[in-house]
Amino acid sequence: MADIVFRNVTKRYGNIVAVESASFSVDDNEFFCFFGPPLSGKSTILRLILGLETCDSGEILIGGRPVNTLSPAERNVAMVFQNLALFPHMSARDNVRFPLVERKVPAAEIEKRVAEVSAKLHIGHILHKPPAQLSGGERQRVAIARALVRDPAAYLMDDPISALDARLREETRVELKRIQRELGKTLVYVTHDQEEAMSVADRMAILEKGQIRQIGTPEDIYDAPASVYVAKLLGSPVMNILASTRDGGVTAAAEGAIRIAGSVPAGEAAENGVRPEDIKVHPWTEESEGRPAKVFEVEPLGGHTVVTLDAGQSRFRALLRGQPDIRTEALVAVSCEPARVHYFSAAGRALARGAAPA
């Protein structure tokens, strides 16, 4: 078993609280992702798991065993280095062997373990090559093999592909996920890229200023963010957060441009959240209800189109399918399914979704 449990773990650096009373459990064989902006505490959590930092209070368990007082070597977790760096002057085989040679493991044992891990990662046929002769995907597998050759209970990655070009990142993240599935080993992963986090994670934890704000599957968090903070971290473009008003018994957002008919927010909603893909845009006609929004910019993505809209002081974005013919400065009517609207309190907490009319 290689589950990882934090119970009320706090880590301070002087007056700065890097991680505050964090509690979570990463299941055995899970791909668990920490996601948040810079300095939200994600890298500190990795360092606490590795044992590079000790916590000020709370308890950390790996595989059911308390590890607070154990050294990094005794914890049996491995780090895959950022950007998956390999030693360029060594062959792939020597790179993989390196952690064992350093620990003075007997030669026969080294060869056996290199063979095992290489078979698991399908890199047996490229072990003789130097890193420069390997493809990006092969290099990644070698870097992971080097981390796993010690047979750790779990392995950790800190934003491993952030330095790659956008296109390469899209492919590499899928490859990482496939490798983790094949290996079936606990992986704790840190990223600052929301799309990457949602793509790879079985579950993810959203961090803000050292505190865990929400834990769940990417889908659950995307569909039901617990707060405005979380809602605005996920999605491309992110969720529109708009002041909520009442207009003749109807809830309205964006200064009346979006009318949310028939919905009943539980409690007092100060703000409405609407995902760009849930916004429908139609030409403004005499029959249109509410007030028009004006097109600020149109951004074609090919398969989709992002339209930025202004209504009074409210600016919001719609993500439309295909290549609709919409021009800047045009007036449009905007609508949204009531069931797709999110409600937030003045403090930014999610309220129960509006019930669709019976």
Partner: protein
């Protein structure tokens, strides 16, 4: 405002050719993106326009005037880099007014320009803040403002958004585009991110290995890529490309994809162009322009991976050279291992020559 002409521009560094005979006309007031992967020659091209590098051969003309030997400071270009160069000991106001002050502009004039540019970039409330207290996002705005305040005829931006966070990048994309529309400066924007090029540029120059591959509006390069490189590089994910050979069927010309089976019949126009063509071809279709059904005529493929990333779900189907991706909305209920029929939208299919990679029957 200035038009830029690149005539047979070549740049070599020793034995390495960074740019091979580039011809490009950038119109007065146009937003042109130079797009391509690392090492494609886009930054080299921009550096030569700026005057930071001398071409090995060829000419650069601004409004017909040859720029050979004209130093950077005399070219009237503004430059914004990926790593914004901001004076951190100065306030936002001092940073913005730096250029006009160095040029000895009168104080009233400077104040007027700072107010105007700060308003456009939403820096109004931050003018008296020290730059070292500001976030990366704000600093990049200051960097853009500091260059824009000089009202350069030509604005050059080299990956200006690659260090800001994703949410802010989306905001900056629409604002930069809007800003350029207002000023109507000639803008040359270097990026490796096809999304930025697609969303902001009037036209995109797609480059690879020092060679200009295609120039066109974002939707032109997306809808009608000139070759397989452009087809794959534009789009997120890029175009699906499958090897095959043309074959006649009862319904018209189809592509025989070998183990994947036979495609639906091609549109008449494309079929006509293809009948005049010899040899193997590549069959291309966009991940967003295909439907998935459980029964029907199309390409039968097993789902290998499902990426749910917010509004979109990317389905990975098939293996190896026969692998494709299909983008659906986030409500798709599909599981790994399931076999589905992929039917590319007829009008979206593109065919390329297998040997040269060039589009066949392009319009």
């Amino acid at each position: 405002m200035s038009a830029i002409h690149l005539n047979s521009l070549v740049k070599r560094f020793g034995d390495f050719t960074a740019l091979k005979t580039m011809d490009l006309e950038i119109a007065n007031g146009e937003f042109m993106a130079l797009l391509g992967p690392s090492g494609c020659g886009k930054s080299t091209t921009m550096n030569m326009i700026a005057g930071m590098e001398e071409p090995t051969s060829g000419r650069i003309l601004f409004d017909g005037r040859d720029m050979a030997g004209v130093p950077m400071g005399r070219r009237g270009v503004g430059f914004v880099f990926q790593n914004y160069a901001i004076f951190t000991h100065m306030t936002v106001r001092e940073n913005l007014s730096y250029g006009p002050r160095m040029h000895g502009a009168p104080k009233a004039e400077i104040d007027k320009r700072v107010t105007a540019i700060a308003g456009l970039l939403q820096l109004d409330g931050l003018l008296d803040r020290k730059a070292d207290r500001l976030s990366v996002n704000i600093l990049q705005r200051v960097a853009i403002g500091r260059s824009a305040i000089m009202e350069p005829a030509i604005f050059l931006l080299d990956e200006p958004l690659s260090n800001v966070d994703a949410a802010f990048r989306a905001v900056m994309r629409s604002e930069l585009k809007h800003l350029q529309r207002q000023f109507r400066q000639t803008m040359v924007y270097v990026t490796h991110d096809q999304l930025e090029a697609m969303t902001m540029a009037d036209r995109i120059a797609v480059m690879d290995h020092g060679v200009l591959q295609q120039v066109g509006s974002p939707l032109e390069v997306y809808n009608n890529p000139a070759n397989v490189f452009v087809a794959r590089f534009i789009g997120s994910p890029g175009m699906n490309i499958l090897k095959g050979r043309p074959a006649e069927s009862d319904g018209g010309l189809v592509i025989d994809l070998g183990p994947l089976g036979v495609t639906p019949a091609l549109p008449a126009e494309l079929a006509a162009a293809l009948r005049r063509h010899d040899g193997d071809v590549l069959y291309g279709f966009r991940p967003e322009q295909a439907s998935l059904v459980r029964e029907g005529r199309g390409l039968s493929m097993a789902v290998t991976f499902v990426e749910r990333i917010g509004a979109r779900t990317i389905l990975h189907l098939g293996e190896g050279e026969g692998a494709v991706k299909v983008v659906t909305d986030n409500d798709a209920r599909v599981t790994v291992g399931e076999t589905l029929i992929v039917i590319p939208d007829m009008g979206s299919v593109r065919i390329f020559d297998a040997a040269t990679g060039r589009a066949i029957g392009g319009r």
